[in-house]
Symmetry: C2
Subunit: 321 residues, 2 copies
């Protein structure tokens, strides 16, 4: 691909990671700081600037032509602002302008973290070669992104593919987002654990009450644990089928901690998909685990830069006067 | 727009309409036949050929450079075939090849009827000027189509935007498509009428038990009729909100017989949208009635030709060797 380098940032509620990424998707230089998520906005920005400073200390910084940011959402790529749920100090925070000011007016591309992971999976992972794909992260939350017509589809604000907050159970449990029966409210790791506990499952002696522990119990045949994963799979299947029916995708790629449960999740998910993806044009839909792992956010932030510049995607690259 | 003419076909379970459409969207010549929907496939094709023959008898046929077809679905634009639910004689029927053979090898663009209506609304109707839109027909069934990045998004097979068959109630009533709780299963005209009858509503002396009669009762204050429309509105809102959350749309345009109920539908729909479209980036979503009316299918079939040729949309124009 390109010979130039991108400075990539992956901004989450726990850590702020950075890297210089080359046209092959290699991470040449890395930097990282914990996110001071409970501090004021300027303190959080200070951590971002420290990460950028660490990257800029490398001589290869001179080859950097753009900055790509994947951030916890919601983001607003059209305004260049972010308001991550888990970073209360940033509310419509002008992240793009601030990063431009720090980097000598390099062009900055901002997308949500689900869109960044999708860019990574389409470039280097399980969605490679697919013209139309949904990529998802199923973890503490449920996020995602879309590839349509062989291009990243961030949408005008960089949030498209936000499958965690579509309702698949319109009379269902209230979701923190304000709606009811969202995919995340049923399928996220904490909700898998909550449902297992409510059904009578109890943690082992180690006290681990996470979805990973529920997955271990399910693999051992615990019926309550199996049922909790099956319900999560059903909600994911309804959401994936809805996406396929709306935009025509060939493959759904699933990463994140819950996906590491493996067949405990993917088995019932594939069965449930056959129940919800019924129309002829979605019958061939595949499901696959993600491949890009912990660096997906950084690789994807770089890929989003190149995707935006080659596709001319509107307004995802914000240049202020 | 263009100076050339398109021969447009709108193929439904009741009638086969045709027109020569100019670059302003004017219908210069019209032709129509009833669909012999219960006959064999060749008899149905004979009706299509008769419509095309009527159009070709006009001297302006010489200016026709392409054929656009909007057909009841599912269609398969990549294969050039159709299998309309209500035309059992056509099962993976090679409509594109047959129309090409009839028209002297003119290029043929095939899309589903929901996609055609969307093309019409984006060109001449309520979605004009919007870069990202969902257009829907709520009638005996519920169909739709998408405009993304200012272009029609038919998807590889020409069926994208098929919102009637996304599940918004994953444990809900079985839908004829095989899934459960689909938008159509809750919000179509026949389901609005069924639900009102089940709730105790009774037709007036004229015996009219359609959704239009339920709408009249709702406007007169009948609580059961109002509740049936409110439930339909809730399902439509969940589906529209899901679409906005997945692909970022600015407007949802609704046409079809059920939409003619007016505020009985649109009032509760706008209220329900506030409950389901909760994320910041979908907060500005508008809802509007469709404007293109009975000619939407013909205007849209022509618009789909020009959209496909200008956008280079993959595989929607099928040319066989």
């Amino acid at each position: 691909m390109q010979n130039d380098l991108v400075a990539a940032l992956d901004i989450g509620g726990t850590k702020i990671a950075g890297a210089l990424v080359d046209g092959e998707g290699r991470l040449l230089v890395r930097a990282q700081r914990p996110t001071p998520a409970r501090e004021d906005g300027e303190t959080v920005m200070g951590a971002v600037e420290t990460v950028l400073g660490d990257l800029a200390a490398d001589p290869r910084w001179a080859e950097v032509t753009a900055v790509g940011i994947g951030s916890a959402g919601p983001v607003d790529a059209s305004a260049g602002t972010v308001r991550p749920v888990n970073v209360p100090g940033w509310r419509d925070y002008p992240l793009v302008d601030r990063v431009r000011a720090t980097t000598g007016d390099l062009p900055v591309t901002l997308v949500g973290d689900g869109v960044a992971m999708t860019a990574a999976e389409h470039w280097q992972g399980a969605a490679r070669g697919h013209a139309n794909a949904l990529c998802m992260v199923v973890s503490t939350g449920v996020g995602g992104g879309l590839v349509l017509n062989n291009r990243l589809h961030p949408g005008p604000t960089g949030n498209a593919g936000h499958i965690g907050h579509i309702s698949v159970d319109l009379d269902g449990d209230p979701c923190p987002c304000g709606a009811r029966g969202c995919v995340e409210r049923i399928a996220s790791g904490p909700n898998i654990a909550r449902r297992a506990l409510e059904g009578g499952w109890r943690p082992a002696a180690d006290g681990d009450a996470t979805a990973a522990a529920v997955a271990r119990a399910a693999r051992a045949g615990d019926p309550v644990a199996l049922a909790s994963f099956a319900r999560a799979a059903q909600a994911l299947a309804a959401g994936i089928a809805a996406t396929a029916t709306l935009v025509e995708i060939e493959i759904a790629v699933i990463g994140g901690g819950v996906a590491s449960a493996g067949e405990v999740l993917f088995g019932p998910l594939r069965r449930a998909l056959r129940e919800y993806a019924t129309l002829s044009f979605v019958g061939g839909l595949e499901v696959a685990p993600a491949q890009t792992g912990a660096d997906a956010g950084l690789i994807g932030a770089a890929a989003a830069v190149w995707s935006a510049s080659s596709a001319g995607i509107e307004r995802t690259e914000v240049r202020t006067a």
